[in-house]
Amino acid sequence: MPVKTYREAINEALHQAMREDSTVIVLGEEVSGGAGCDGSRDAYGGVMGVTKGLLPAYGEARVIDTPITESAIIGAAAGAAQTGLRPVAELMFMDFFGVCFDQIYNQAAKFHYMFGGKAQCPMVIRCTTGAGWRAGAQHSQNLTQMVTMVPGLKVVCPTNAYDAKGLMLQAIKDNDCVIFVEDKILYDTSCEVPDEMYTLPFGEAKFYREGSDLTIVAISNPMHKVLAVADKLAAEGITCDVIDPRTTSPLDEEAILESVEMTGRLVVVDEMTPRCGIASDISSIVAEKAFRSLRAPIRKVTAAHSPVPFAPNLEDAWMPQESDIESAIRDVLEYV
């Protein structure tokens, strides 16, 4: 099977969806790049190169470079979704949600319910997230929790290229507003990805590892740090269920609860600030629904309660690291 990067997998999904369905459009800042300039078009293909090649293939009517105008991009996508198109809007950095949040949580998320089921909003909002690029406080945040809490939105955060393609094709087919969170650290990671189209269902967790001593749930990029730690522990004879929910809304509660009921121990890892984050949410669900199974306190490993700092040493300290994950795991395992 061919090996593709996370970037290539999403690009291929977009190509295939656009080829199959003429109502799929892509819009956003620099999705092609070079509009109105003297040089060449498709100069960027999206800030991370994910939409490269779409403009030459599908033309300006369906691959739309916008001004820097986040509220209008998301509003336009929502209005187009209500009236017959399937827009995939790119927001570049998840940090920019603040500029256009009304159009996401008051508009797109609510159309279907607020209008008695008579409107649909089949749109995807792609955004990049995650620290580690030394990009500072306004280009590094993972704000997945802010959209996960909104009824009407679905939230997808793939951790590998295979999942990214299948989940993107599902997101475009879905009739709700889907927030597609791409961790920028993952763009150059690769794995086997089939050439043909396939979808992966929302709300079905993936088990990266299976074991009986501990349950680890991780969201987005920290998953790869978790796997390194889990493999290290495996060499010591400690086996873990390592669960990637893949979508935070809907959330596969059942997979997490079943695992915790077996292992009795839970560590949850995300790269969000610690209050009201996904790790907190999953912890509360387990505390509420699987309390009797727990044999140790739940531990969360998250980012620090501060803006993301610029200085590399500080940013590294801000992010959850393998050592933090390992230490939390050992604490939970040693608790009697």
Binding site: A72, L85, P151
Partner: protein
């Protein structure tokens, strides 16, 4: 029409622009809006309507004049003061009354209410309770029209209040950049809630501000149905011809408070009384049409009677209808599996 963006535009002619059939249709629409608003005001005071109400009374000529030019598959998006737009676009008045009373059979199954009333079969994409929330969405509807190659237009109603919102600026700019068939129709009723437009609108008017985005802009007396119709006729033709967006600023009176129950201490002595006496679009439209022998007074009287009966019927039906079932709570949060 001219696409000159340096001069504010006025309609070319207000002479005999409406034929009698069109006038009767517009008059029925205006009368229905007025009677509907009067009735729900009364029902609100009786405690039969939950929540907030923002009434359109005084602004009827704008919705009615524009919607004469639109088809069911053209799009409008409205504001928190949206009943008039909904009625003019052709929504069923009985289902509207049920919605506003939070009853089964309401346009949105009782989930939306006055501030989120919508009728997608009529291209009415919803009242919107976020001031400035609608313009970006109508850009999307206009984008659909352009991308799918239909000749539909999208109209975003707004007020002097929404004219100051950043979302509105972004929407106007994007509509120009993508040359979309969108109309930004600002009904300047003088008030954003309890603050006057002469304080809150930094430019001397809204239309010239829109011109700054590079689109033609009209100013029109929104109490004059004939002038509204002619202005909108030119604007809609401009959009359907693929020439890009247009802004219209229509000056209108607000006969009611920001919301029902608003004591309106901020309004001048006898201000509302004078506006209702001197700037009632229904009275003016009727007087002109009869004077110019476009229609007969008795035909208008008959419409008044029919509308009164319809509003009675809608009120009785809505009062009698059951509230939504409790089991509806979690229905339609998502449209695909969750």
């Amino acid at each position: 029409m001219s696409t000159d963006t340096n001069t504010l535009l006025k309609p070319k002619s207000t002479e005999q622009v409406l034929d009698s059939e069109q006038f009767l249709k517009a008059y029925r629409s205006m009368r229905t809006i007025r009677a509907f608003e009067d009735r729900i005001s009364e029902q609100f005071m009786k405690g039969n309507i939950p929540g907030f109400l923002h009434l359109y009374s005084g602004q009827e000529a704008v919705a009615a004049g524009l919607c004469l030019l639109l088809n069911d598959d053209d799009y409008v998006i409205s504001t928190h003061r949206g009943h008039g737009h909904c009625i003019a676009k052709g929504a069923d008045v009985v289902a509207m009354m049920k919605e506003i009373m939070a009853k089964q059979g309401g346009l949105c199954d009782g989930k939306g209410g006055s501030m989120h009333i919508a009728d997608f079969d009529k291209g009415m994409l919803g009242a919107n309770a976020i001031v400035g929330g609608g313009p970006p969405i109508i850009v999307g509807a206009a984008l659909s029209a352009k991308t799918l190659g239909t000749d539909r237009v999208g109209v975003a109603f707004g007020g002097d209040g929404s004219s100051n919102q950043g979302t509105t600026f972004e929407a106007m700019n994007l509509a120009v950049v993508l040359k979309l068939p969108a109309i930004f129709l600002f009904e300047n009723n003088g008030y954003g809630e309890g603050t006057h437009a002469r304080y809150a609108v930094g430019s001397k008017d809204i239309a010239s501000r829109a011109q700054g985005f590079g689109m033609p802009a009209y100013q029109v007396d929104g109490t004059d149905l004939f002038a509204v119709y002619e202005t909108c006729r030119e604007a809609v033709a401009h959009c359907r011809a693929g020439k890009g967006p247009v802004t219209i600023e229509a000056t209108v009176p607000r006969f009611k408070g920001h919301f029902e129950g608003d004591p309106q201490a901020y309004r001048g002595e006898k201000e509302v009384e004078t506006l209702m006496k001197e700037q009632d679009c229904l009275v003016m439209a009727r007087a002109r049409a009869v004077k110019e022998k476009l229609v007969k007074a008795k035909d208008l009287d008959r419409i008044d009677q029919e509308v009164a009966e319809l509003i009675d019927e809608a009120t009785q039906a809505a009062l009698a209808a059951p509230a939504p079932e409790d089991s509806e709570l979690l229905k339609n949060v998502y449209s695909s599996d969750y």
